[in-house]
Amino acid sequence: MNPIPALRFVVRVALQNIVRNRGIAFASLLTVTLTLLGAGAAVGVVFALDKVLQQEESQASVLKVFMADHISFASALNLEHTLASEPNVQAASFENKDQAAAQASSTLGLGGALHVLETSGGGNPLPASINLHLKNIAAVTAINNQVSTSDLLFPGPHQTDYNKDVIPRVEHYILAAQLGGAILVAVVGAVALVIITISVRTAAFVRRQEIEIMKLVGATDWFVRWPFILEGMILGVISALLASGVLLGVGVAFGSGGSLALGVGVRLAVLISLGLILGGAVLGSFGSLVGIRRSLAT
């Protein structure tokens, strides 16, 4: 069989099928668009949640090792370098007493109290610290145990501080968000698949006489299948384009600065759109394959 005329015929029949059965095609287009819209929105929300959690995680994974006031700057610097070379440590930075006071003023609103203490001769009560930014939140406890009993400055224990309570909570949220997102996408995908299958099965039922004649005159099963597969693929891709358009429109309308709504960047938006198009094409063709199977059984 010559592939070019065969392809031309399959494309023509697929397009004819869509036009002839535009009612069913429109219904499946609408439902698949809605489900892909749900899938795209789910990916965006999971991304935004993940971003918030990552932020929380990065904050929670900071371990502060407080310096006694008599520790020399050289000793502190030495400790900073030593800790920075630890495998689980991403970065280590020294925060002097003034920086600690400025930080407390800005984040905790303690500027007034610190000013009163300093002007009354009490001085800055906040200690200098080495702030360790860890690669993995799970390593905080281990590093804390290692540092708090270290002999690098002088025999421990050294006073440390980290968000002990936040860590398990953040880990829990991350797991829940990933699991929830995966389940949501899987459920939405399954719904889209079922809808396309039903739609193609209905289309195949409407065209049962055409299929019967094709088989009687000697068309191969694949020749019968291809127009339906292409039809599902076309509907899936159009649905994905519509869903992407709506998501991008909403993203732009509610976005600010260089990013879309929920802090989704342009790059991610393009990736989500491409993913939806690919997903729509795969869902459409696979749904069609399942939908047409019964019509070819005899």
Binding site: F9, E210, E212, K215, V217, G218, A219, D221
Partner: protein
Amino acid sequence: MSISTSPAPPRPQVAETTRPARHEPPIIVFQNVSKTYPNGATAIRDVSFTIPPRDFVFVVGASGAGKSTIIRLLIREETATKGHVLVEGQDLARLRRRHLPRLRRKMGIVFQDFKLLPTLTVAQNVAFAIQVTDPGRSHLKEKVGEALYIVGLEDKLNTFPTELSGGEQQRVAIARALVHRPRIFLADEPTGNLDPDAGWGIVQLLLQINHRGATVVMATHNREVVDLCRRRVLAMEGGGLIRDEQEGQYLKDGEANL
């Protein structure tokens, strides 16, 4: 698709008689064939016959006698529960599903209900058989025109089936079955929905196709047609083959109406 009418070749004469090639291996063989459905109903039981190339055979009998089952077994829409059905030496029970299209392209098949696509014109309905089996085939228009010329509908190319009479619709179905130039032509009650004149016209056409070299098997309960043609008759009753007669009639002499 729009097809212009090409200069018509002279119309062939309808054959009065056709000599089956009995010296050649049979083109169709039924060996002790039975068909029982999953619900236990037996459609045919222990049926045996052979059909030589270029034979013209009527399969007659009352409704439910098993005529259509024989046609369905021949196109392998059904498979035999017992026995063997052979077409050109090929045991259909052993035929792989992927080779089924090849078998059906050797056959022309028409039914009582015509099975035309109402949204396509006459020419498009005939061309459909070529397009879905060999889209790259050249001279599509000529082949469609030739098939429609044989059935006498060369002036109805762009007409839709709903605008045709029953007899004309059956002629379109025959033209569609002819475009592959089949060696075997199967007709399941092709005159069942037609008035006597139109029905006789269809039988004349099938005789002409037989004269051109095709083996024709026609399932019918049209007594008049069978009796006028005097061709081979396979008479079915209750799923069994009760009579196989050359130049036979619908009923055996002295037999009561079926």
